[in-house]
C-alpha cells in the first residue's frame, strides 16, 4: 500500500513538473524572451555565481574549521610530524591559489556578464603575463619538489642498524606477525611450507628461525627506530598505520620494508586523546577481497623497558609447535642423507634465504 502511494505521489509530481515545464516554454514564447539572445536569466546566473562564491565559500570555510580536529588523527612518529607540517604548509600554499583563482573566476563571471552597451575587450595574448604565470608556478613547484624529495629520501633511506625488526605478513583476511627472537635474525620462511599449523611457512631447518616468535598484536618500543619487514602470502595488501604515517604494500614474491620511530606510548596517547580505549591500529589499504575492510591488528607502543620485558616473555614458534619442529628434524635428517648423494639439493635453499634477509 505504501509502495503504491509512493509511486502515485511520484507520478503526480512528474505530471506537475511536466505541466510547469510546458507552461514555462509557453510563457517564454509569449513574452518573446525565447527569441532574445540574452535575457533576464543571464543576470540571474551571474548573481548565482557570485552567491555561490560567497555562500559556498563561507560554508566550505565553516565546515572545514568545524571538522578540522576530526580530520587530524594524532601523530606518533618522527617522520609523521615532519610530513604533517609539510602537508599543511602545502595546503596553505594551495589554499591561497585556490581562493585567488576561484574568486577571480566567479567575480569575473559576475562582473563581465553580458551588457548590450559594452563590447568585450579584444585581448588575444600578452607574452609578458604568460611568462610570469608560467614561471611563478614553476618556482613554487620546484620548492615543493625539493622539500618533498628531501623528506622522502630521509624516510625511505636505510633504517638505522640498531632498529627493532619485525615482520608483517598479509593474508586474506588478517595480519601475521613475527619477531626475530633473541638472535635478532629472522629465519627463512617459504610459502610452500605453509599449512594450518605453520601459517607463516617457517622453514625450521634454518637455525635463525628457531627462536622466532609470532604475536597477535604489534609491540614496539617508544623512541626507538622500528623496521617493518613486509610480505604477503596471497594477494596484494598494504600495511597502513595512519597514526604513524606509515604505508607500504605487501607484495607476494617481493618483500618490502618501511622504518619509523614511534614517539608516544599507547598510554601517553590515551592520556592525550582523553580516550582510555585508544589503540593504534594497523589497517589493510590495498583491496584484497571480501574481508579487506576488517583486516585489523592492534599496535602497542611500550616504554622501552616494558618492551624488553614483553619480548623476553614470548615463547618461540618452534617451542610452541613441537610437531612442526619435529617434521623439520625428520626432513633435515633425510636431507643430510640425500646431500651426501646429491649436493645440489642443499643449494636450492640458498636463494630463498637470500630473499628473506633482503
Amino acid at each position: 500500500m505504501t509502495t503504491l502511494s509512493i509511486i502515485l505521489v511520484l507520478a503526480l509530481l512528474l505530471v506537475v513538473f511536466g505541466l510547469l515545464f510546458r507552461l514555462q516554454i509557453l510563457t517564454a514564447i509569449f513574452s518573446g524572451s525565447s527569441n532574445r539572445q540574452v535575457g533576464v536569466s543571464n543576470r540571474i546566473n551571474a548573481i548565482l555565481f557570485l552567491a555561490f562564491l560567497v555562500i559556498g565559500g563561507g560554508l566550505f570555510a565553516w565546515s572545514f574549521v568545524d571538522n578540522y580536529d576530526k580530520m587530524n588523527p594524532p601523530i606518533a612518529s618522527i617522520h609523521g610530524l615532519a610530513t604533517e607540517k609539510m602537508f599543511w604548509t602545502t595546503m596553505v600554499i594551495l589554499g591561497i591559489a585556490f581562493v585567488l583563482t576561484q574568486v577571480l573566476l566567479f567575480w569575473y563571471s559576475y562582473k563581465y556578464q553580458h551588457n548590450d552597451k559594452r563590447r568585450a575587450f579584444f585581448f588575444p595574448h600578452n607574452n609578458k603575463i604568460e611568462v610570469i604565470w608560467t614561471v611563478i608556478p614553476a618556482i613554487v613547484m620546484a620548492a615543493l619538489v625539493f622539500a618533498g624529495w628531501k623528506e622522502w629520501s630521509r624516510i625511505m633511506g636505510p633504517a638505522p642498524k640498531d632498529a627493532v625488526v619485525l615482520e608483517l605478513m598479509g593474508k586474506q583476511f588478517n595480519w601475521l606477525l613475527r619477531y626475530p627472537g633473541r638472535d635478532q635474525k629472522l629465519g627463512v620462511v617459504n610459502y610452500r611450507l605453509i599449512d594450518a599449523s605453520n601459517e607463516f611457512g617457517f622453514d625450521l631447518s634454518d637455525k635463525n628461525g628457531l627462536d622466532d616468535f609470532t604475536a597477535g598484536e604489534v609491540h614496539v618500543p617508544k623512541g626507538h627506530p622500528v623496521l617493518l619487514r613486509i610480505r604477503s602470502r596471497d594477494v596484494l595488501h598494504a600495511v597502513y598505520m595512519p597514526n604513524f604515517r606509515v604505508q607500504m604494500y605487501a607484495v607476494p614474491g617481493m618483500p618490502t620494508k618501511f622504518w619509523f620511530t614511534p614517539t608516544k606510548t599507547t598510554d601517553e596517547m590515551r592520556a592525550q586523546t582523553g580516550n582510555p580505549n585508544f589503540n593504534y591500529e594497523l589497517a589493510c589499504n590495498q583491496v584484497c577481497g571480501r574481508g579487506h575492510f576488517a583486516m585489523k591488528m592492534s599496535i602497542i607502543v611500550d616504554e622501552p623497558d616494558d618492551y624488553v620485558n614483553w619480548y623476553a616473555q614470548q615463547k618461540s614458534f618452534s617451542e610452541q609447535n613441537p610437531d612442526v619442529l619435529a617434521s623439520f628434524k625428520q626432513k633435515s635428517d633425510k636431507l643430510v642423507e640425500k646431500a651426501t648423494v646429491a649436493p645440489a639439493a642443499a643449494a636450492v635453499v640458498i636463494p630463498t634465504a637470500a630473499k628473506a634477509s633482503l
Binding site: 569575473y108 588575444p124 633511506g157 607484495v251 589497517a283
Partner: protein
C-alpha cells in the same frame, strides 16, 4: 559506403589540406536513398557515429551512476538494512546486508564504466567524431568504415561488459585497476572468475575500438583539413582531440599487453604477475612473476588515460568560454603549448600511483619531480581561461555555465594533485578518500562538465533543435552544488586517513568519526544523481520537441556553424569553405559584428584588420 561518397576520394587525392574550393560538387546530391539500417545503424557518417557514441555513453553513465548510488547507500548507512533492494539485487543482498564482495564489484564496475565507457568512449568518441570533420572542413573521417568499426567494437565491448553484471559469480571485483594477484585468482574473490574474464575480453575489444577511432582522428586532422586550415588556425578543440588520439594510440596498446599477459596468467598457467602464493589451502606453482610489473604496465596507460579523459573537455571548454565571453581565448599558442606539454609529460608520470608499492624510492623521487612539473602547464591553462573571462561580455548559456563549472572543479581537484604527487605526503594519503576526492573532481566531475558543456553547445548542430535553457540551468546548479557537496567533505574524510574500497569503517576506532559526514555525502550524491534525469529528459525531449535551431545559434566563428542547420552526408551541400583566419576573432575592434567566422577573408574585413593582417587582404 565509401563508393557513393565521391568527395572523399578527391580530398585524399588532393593531398594534405588541399581541398580546392570551386571544385564541382554538383553530383553530390545524387546519393542513393539510404536504408534505415545504413543511415542510423551501420552508418559511416561521422555525425551519426558520434550520436551513437553519445547515446551509448549516456546509457553507461546511468548504469555507472546507479552503481555509485548503491554503494553510497552502504557507506552512508552501514548499519541499516537494504532488504528493499532484494528485487533488484537478488542474492547479493544477504540477510538485509549488501554482500561485501558485491560491494567491491560495484566499486570496480563504477570505475571501469565511468573511466572507459563514459569519459573515454562517450566523451572523445562523441566529440572527436562529431567535431573533427566539421571543424577542420572535411566531408567525413579519413575512413568512414573504420570509424563505423570503431563504434561497433565499442558496442560489442559494451555488451560483454554489461553481460558481466548479471553472471552468477558477479562482475569483476578487484578494483578498476584490476591489480593481480587478486584479479588473477578466482580463489581470492568470486568476481575474479568469469566476471574478470569478461572484463578482460571487453577491455580488449574496447582497446581495438579506441585504436580504430584514434588512427582515424589523427589521419583526418593531418590530411583532411580544408584549404587555409593550417595547424595554427585549428580550433583548440581539434588540437585537444588530436593530442588525445595520439595519447590513446600510444598508451592503449600497453594496456592491451597487460590484459593479454593477465589472461595468460589466469588461463594458461604463466607467471608474469604471480609469485610465491599460498591461497585456499594450496601453494600455487607460480614463481618469478611480479605484481608490480602489472602496475607499471597498467599505469603506463592509466595515467595518460586521465589526460585522454580531460583533454577533450579542456578543448571544448576553451572553445565555449571564448564563444560565450565573446572574446578570443587568451594565449592561443600557450594553450596549444600547454596541451602538448601535458601530453608529453603524461607519459612519464605514471609511477606516482605507485610510490608505496615497494618500488625503488629513487624511482619515486624521479616521478615526484616529473609529476609536479605537469602542474605548470595545467596552471597556465587555468590562468588563461580566467583571463579569457576578464573584460568579456559573457552570455550564460547552459554550455557556458558548465564550462565555468569545469574550470572551478578543475582548479579544486587539480590543486590537491600537487599534494598527492609529493611522494612524502603520499605515504599517508595513498589509497585514502583524499585520492578519491581528488580524481573525482579533477577528472571525473570536470570531464563530465566538459561533456555536458559540449552536449548543450553542439546539440543544435547535432539535432537541429535547441535544448531547453531553463532546464539546463536547473541541471547545472543542482549538479554543480551537488558535486561540491559530495567531494569537498570527502577530502576531510581522506585527510583523516579513511581507506578507499572499504565496505564499512566500523571495525576501526581510527575511522570512527565522520559517520555523519559520510551520510551527508551519500545524500548529496544520490540527489545529484537524480538531478541527471532532468538532463536526460531535456536531451531526449529536445531531440523531438525542442525549439528549432538556427544555423549559428551562438554566433560562433568555427566552420561547423557554416553548415546547414542539420548537415547532411558530406556536411556542406556545396563547396567546403576555405579558411582565412584563426578561430577566435571575437569582438575585434572595428568589426561590424562581434564575431568573424573563420571562412571570412581579410579582404571583407578591412575595417578590423590588424596591421600584420593587412598584407593578407
Amino acid at each position: 559506403m565509401a563508393a557513393n561518397f565521391p568527395t572523399q576520394e578527391e580530398q585524399v587525392q588532393g593531398g594534405i589540406g588541399a581541398t580546392e574550393p570551386g571544385h564541382d560538387h554538383a553530383h553530390h546530391d545524387e546519393h542513393h536513398e539510404q536504408s534505415f539500417l545504413q543511415k542510423y545503424v551501420f552508418s559511416t557518417d561521422h555525425k551519426v557515429i558520434a550520436k551513437q557514441f553519445l547515446i551509448t555513453g549516456i546509457f553507461w553513465a546511468l548504469i555507472g551512476g546507479t552503481l555509485s548510488s548503491l554503494f553510497r547507500l552502504q557507506l552512508g548507512w552501514p548499519e541499516s538494512t537494504l532488504e528493499w533492494l532484494t528485487p533488484f539485487l537478488g542474492k547479493w543482498i544477504e540477510a538485509g546486508k549488501l554482500n561485501p564482495e558485491f560491494y567491491l564489484a560495484l566499486v570496480t564496475m563504477h570505475g571501469t564504466i565511468m573511466v572507459f565507457f563514459v569519459l573515454t568512449a562517450g566523451l572523445s568518441g562523441t566529440f572527436s567524431n562529431f567535431l573533427i570533420p566539421l571543424q577542420i572542413g572535411a566531408r567525413d573521417m579519413a575512413s568512414g568504415f573504420m570509424n563505423m568499426l570503431s563504434y561497433w567494437f565499442f558496442f560489442a565491448s559494451s555488451i560483454v561488459m554489461f553481460s558481466s553484471l548479471f553472471i552468477e559469480t558477479g562482475p569483476a571485483a578487484a578494483g578498476w585497476t584490476i591489480y593481480p594477484p587478486l584479479s588473477a585468482l578466482p580463489q581470492a574473490i568470486a568476481g575474479s572468475g568469469a566476471g574478470q574474464t569478461l572484463w578482460l575480453v571487453s577491455m580488449a575489444l574496447f582497446i581495438i575500438s579506441q585504436l580504430l577511432g584514434g588512427v582515424n582522428y589523427i589521419t583526418t586532422v593531418i590530411n583532411l583539413r580544408t584549404q587555409g586550415m593550417s595547424m595554427s588556425k585549428l580550433p583548440l578543440t581539434i588540437w585537444a582531440f588530436f593530442l588525445t588520439a595520439i595519447l590513446g594510440l600510444l598508451a592503449f596498446p600497453v594496456l592491451f599487453s597487460a590484459t593479454l599477459l593477465l589472461i595468460f596468467d589466469r588461463s594458461f598457467g604463466t607467471s608474469f604477475f604471480l609469485s610465491d602464493i599460498y591461497i585456499a589451502g594450496q601453494a600455487l606453482p607460480n614463481t618469478g612473476g611480479s605484481p608490480i610489473l602489472f602496475q607499471h604496465l597498467f599505469w603506463f596507460l592509466g595515467h595518460p588515460e586521465v589526460y585522454i579523459v580531460i583533454m577533450p573537455a579542456m578543448g571544448m571548454v576553451s572553445e565555449i568560454l571564448a564563444t560565450n565571453a565573446r572574446k578570443p581565448i587568451f594565449g592561443y599558442r600557450a594553450m596549444i603549448g600547454s596541451l602538448i606539454g601535458i601530453s608529453l609529460l603524461s607519459f612519464i608520470v605514471w609511477a606516482h600511483h605507485m610510490f608505496v608499492t615497494g618500488m625503488n624510492p629513487f624511482l619515486g623521487s624521479v616521478f615526484m619531480f616529473l609529476t609536479l612539473i605537469i602542474a605548470v602547464p595545467s596552471a597556465v591553462k587555468v590562468f588563461n581561461w580566467i583571463a579569457t573571462l576578464w573584460r568579456g561580455n559573457i552570455r550564460f548559456t547552459t554550455a557556458m555555465l558548465f564550462s565555468i563549472g569545469f574550470v572551478s572543479l578543475f582548479i579544486a581537484g587539480g590543486l590537491t594533485g600537487i599534494i598527492l604527487g609529493n611522494a612524502a605526503l603520499d605515504i599517508q594519503l595513498h589509497n585514502t578518500y583524499f585520492v578519491v576526492a581528488h580524481f573525482h573532481l579533477v577528472m571525473g566531475s570536470s570531464a563530465f562538465f566538459g561533456l555536458w558543456a559540449g552536449v548543450y553547445h553542439w546539440f543544435p548542430k547535432m539535432f537541429g533543435r535547441m535544448m531547453d535553457e531553463k532546464l539546463g540551468y536547473i541541471h547545472f546548479w543542482l549538479t554543480f552544488i551537488g558535486v561540491y557537496m559530495v567531494f569537498l567533505p570527502m577530502h576531510y574524510v581522506g585527510i583523516a586517513g579513511f581507506p578507499r574500497r572499504y565496505y564499512a569503517w566500523t571495525g576501526f576506532d581510527t575511522f570512527s568519526q565522520f559517520a555523519d559526514l559520510n551520510k551527508f555525502i551519500s545524500i548529496a550524491a544520490i540527489i545529484a544523481f537524480f538531478g541527471q534525469f532532468i538532463f536526460i529528459f531535456n536531451f531526449f525531449y529536445s531531440i523531438f520537441r525542442g525549439r528549432r535551431a538556427t544555423e549559428n545559434p551562438w554566433n560562433s566563428t568555427t566552420l561547423e556553424w557554416t553548415t546547414p542547420i542539420v548537415p547532411g552526408h558530406g556536411n556542406w551541400p556545396g563547396d567546403i569553405p576555405a579558411v582565412h583566419r584563426w578561430p577566435y576573432d571575437y569582438s575585434k575592434p572595428g568589426a561590424e559584428e562581434d564575431f568573424i567566422p573563420q571562412n571570412v577573408p581579410y579582404s571583407q574585413t578591412q575595417s578590423s584588420n590588424l596591421p600584420y593582417e593587412k598584407e593578407m587582404e
